[in-house]
Homo-oligomer: 112 residues x 2
Amino acid sequence: MSALASPRRMEILRLVWDQELPAGDIHRAMPDVTFGAVSLQLKHLLEAGLLDARTESRNRFYRARKKALGPMAKALEEMWSDALWKLKLAAELDESRRGPRPQRRKTKGKQL
Amino acid sequence: MSALASPRRMEILRLVWDQELPAGDIHRAMPDVTFGAVSLQLKHLLEAGLLDARTESRNRFYRARKKALGPMAKALEEMWSDALWKLKLAAELDESRRGPRPQRRKTKGKQL
DNA sequence: CAGATAGTTTAGTTATAACTAAACTATTAT
DNA sequence: ATAATAGTTTAGTTATAACTAAACTATCTG
């Protein structure tokens, strides 16, 4: 339950609800945080058993484990398809998004 | 949604799910925190629209507003009646309960 | 009225969650 | 082998949520 606590993790869960996505795509969908931050949240969800992960070459694909959510799965789907809830969630996300917009670091092999 | 985030608030919500209870009874059910802490959480839930409150003489009665939870209401009920989920929630609550056990201050009108 | 009971509120503390920056591993391409 | 891409991890910071102690309001009781 408490893995569903943060709007950020809900956003992720929703992205991979009915499609598998690589971590990079998930990050691209939330450019207000660093890649590292997203990776940590993915780990959190994974450890809570709410995601499945699969590695393919350089990519790591994530997908929601709806079964693990039990009765919550249906509730979430209904909420997401409900206009009123859409507004509520949008507001919550918006609240969690204040401050400057960081970019992905230009990782170089050996840089000071 | 985010008002459901903490196991503490879930515990409260569950207590007043199908019965109205005065703040004092709710506090008595969670003696590991002060009365003030409970009052603040009640306020939180109230402001999120998840509780109804009614004052009668010295008591303030609280009750869950199931309608406000939409599809979540059913999901919560199902979870609570499910043995597996019971264990999960118990574990979460237990985790949030470490440290010393404070008591309600012996409030005296004018004490130093 | 004084004192007890029921609850809220404020101000300050503490615990925890979320995040950043940078180092790191692994894979692929040149 | 070098460099780029994809992702993770660590260590430290910052923001936020939860809590405590005490002051406070209000109602009831003698």
